[in-house]
């Protein structure tokens, strides 16, 4: 079995509002990330994907607070160590993060090379500017990025180029894990593919060892991820291999998601898409039973009352009271979801 780079156990993070309400955005999430794997996290806006990413990185800034659970990165539980140690020893070296609008992270008054100097001087003591320039140029060359970008200002670069530059900078210290939070959602499809190629290239060349990729674009996730986790209202509702989750979803929510995929392929035109009715629950209230209850087309009375735990069936897990066979049967006959 491959080495476990990242281990998250029963992680719980809350937002505290000024009215002293607690909003549990990440609730009891557990997963492992193994060497060489790309884990995809899917879910709609507001389901806690980005909060999970920030919690795993230890970015606990108010109003986000740590509640309970373990995040193990290379044997260190980062929730237990002081922030300065985390910043100096873990962030950037062991784990790196690309936020959604990474292009805005570039300082408009600095050349790209100055930013790289800042990053490397902070983490490697005694490194000279000349050495930094050499490392940066080599890295840009291996990743097929033009070298003259280093001497430019962010305003001179296109959106896709900025995004690629930020990815190159954030992985310059060879972190083991890269967390990419919707790195392509602001780009058009052409630049998107170039960015995805760059990310895959980083793994292939061994600059990073594993990646967590967050997005709501399922076809994109299928193209990049080995495993997929589906999140809903702060919980993981299903996880498994990409192929299985996309083509053979178990949970009613994932089933709804997979039925809303639109791709330019034969048979898509005229296909009825499923619309999942309603909106996700408000997480500030204590929720009992299944969180998908209100929107689920297959809901029963017991869903609301009983506590729903993860069920494990050959390498896959899902959070529903019903058995796999029962769900499959429902998808196939009779109770067809409300179509568009």
């Amino acid at each position: 079995m491959a080495e476990k780079l990242l281990e998250v156990k029963n992680l719980k993070s809350v937002y505290k509002t000024r009215f002293n309400e607690k909003i549990t955005a990440v609730d009891d999430v557990s997963f492992d990330l193994e060497d060489g794997k790309c884990l995809g996290i899917a879910g709609e806006s507001g389901c806690g994907k980005s909060t999970l990413a920030m919690s795993v990185m230890g970015y606990y800034y108010p109003p986000l607070f740590y509640e309970s659970g373990i995040v193990n990165i290379s044997g260190i539980d980062i929730t237990k160590i002081p922030y300065n140690q985390l910043r100096k020893e873990i962030l950037g070296k062991e784990i790196a993060y690309i936020p959604q609008a990474a292009m805005n992270a570039l300082n408009p008054t600095q050349r790209i090379i100055n930013l790289i100097e800042d990053v490397m001087e902070e983490h490697i003591s005694g490194i000279t500017k000349k050495e930094i320039r050499k490392i940066a140029e080599d890295r840009f060359e291996t990743l097929n990025l033009p070298k003259d970008v280093l001497q430019r200002y962010p305003i001179e670069l296109s959106g896709g180029m900025k995004q690629r530059t930020v990815i190159a900078i954030s992985t310059i210290l060879n972190p083991k894990i890269l967390i990419a939070d919707e790195p392509t959602s602001a780009l058009d499809v052409t630049s998107q593919k170039i960015v995805i190629k760059l990310l895959k290239d980083l793994i292939k060349r061994g600059f990073i060892k594993a990646m967590v990729f967050i997005t709501h674009e399922l076809p994109l996730l299928y193209n990049i991820a080995d495993d997929i986790m589906v999140m809903y209202a702060g919980e993981i509702v299903e996880s498994g291999e990409a192929e299985e989750v996309i083509f053979d979803p178990i949970h009613p929510y994932s089933n709804g998601l997979m039925n809303s995929i639109i791709v330019p392929e034969k048979g898509i035109k005229g296909k009825k898409l499923t619309v999942i009715p309603g909106a996700p629950p408000n997480l500030k209230y204590k929720l009992e039973g299944c969180r998908f209850f209100d929107r689920c087309l297959f809901a029963k009375d017991e869903c609301k009352i009983s506590e729903i735990n993860m069920k494990y069936v050959n390498n896959r897990s899902y959070r529903c009271v019903l058995q796999v066979d029962e769900l499959k049967e429902m998808y196939e006959d009779g109770k067809k979801p409300a179509t568009t």
Binding site: V189, P219, L220, I261, V263, E265, L273, V275
Partner: protein
């Protein structure tokens, strides 16, 4: 509204942005004919001139040369009355739902204002009934939007509300400029569904601008592929997507992630 009649056409429409140093040709001698009761997609990558063309059709930008003809007459927006009349017939749906609403106004008031535009007198409960109908049309429950400010709604809800607004005004032409690009994939289906319902039940013509050729294929009756300010390929979706002739179209299709086969990366 009558279908398959010529609604909007453009003759050599050109837009040049220039300053002292350089000239940028955003839209380059474009010709098009849009018929009523259709969804027409304009597809292209960022910077290909899609939005500039949309703004010219909306009358927010003047073409540098060429003319746009709406229902047999070149569009003319010199006076306030003419503008109001034109925008009664042509309505936009913008990319960013969060900035299309006035943040100080409750959203149901926005819809009430739309009814005012129609120049009909209705009692208050009749107005609300009309609004409720419009909300149901786009799959929104009236309770979801009643007495709410824009920040209390999700992007998907706001974008659907925008379509409900359009429905109340009943324009002949809707310009939807990337209406789904800021919405997550799960709510996307409901937006597309609402646009198709507009076409099928009201007979509105929709110009759907997107960079995602998959969406264009799903929703439209005709596709125009735009590159560097020109239409390089146009036709029915089945022809354009399944048997593209232009290199550029093939390239666009190959860049969209698919589920039949994975990318070789």
């Amino acid at each position: 509204m009558a279908r398959n009649q010529l609604l909007l056409s453009g003759k050599d429409v050109t837009k040049i942005f220039s300053n002292k140093k350089k000239k940028t040709i955003a839209v380059d001698h474009v010709n098009f004919e849009f018929e009523s009761g259709e969804i027409i997609s304009i597809v292209g990558e960022s910077g290909s001139g899609k939005t500039t063309l949309a703004k010219m059709i909306l009358g927010l930008l003047n073409p540098s040369s060429g003319e746009i003809i709406f229902r047999g007459r070149p569009i003319e927006l010199k006076t306030r009355e003419k503008r109001i009349e034109y925008w009664r017939n042509v309505q936009p749906i913008f990319q960013d739902p969060f900035s299309s609403f006035n943040i100080f106004k409750k959203v149901d008031n926005v819809l009430l204002d739309c009814i005012k535009l129609l120049n009909i007198t209705l009692k208050k409960d009749e107005k609300y009934k009309k609004i409720e109908e419009a909300c149901n049309f786009v799959n929104l429950r009236f309770g979801e939007i009643y007495n709410k400010y824009p920040f209390e709604l999700s992007g998907g809800q706001m974008q659907r509300l925008m379509i409900a607004r359009v429905l109340l005004i009943r324009p002949r032409l809707v310009i939807a400029d990337e209406p789904t690009s800021m919405i997550d994939a799960c709510s996307r289906a409901s937006i597309l569904d609402a646009l198709m319902k507009l076409r099928d039940e009201i007979g509105t013509t929709v110009v759907f601008i997107t960079h995602d050729i998959g969406l264009a294929y799903y929703v439209s009756d005709k596709i125009f592929v735009m590159k560097e300010g020109r239409f390089v390929e146009e036709g029915f979706p089945d022809d354009v997507i399944l048997n593209p002739t232009e290199e550029y179209t093939k390239h666009l299709i190959s860049d969209v992630p698919k589920i039949e086969s994975r990318w070789a990366l």
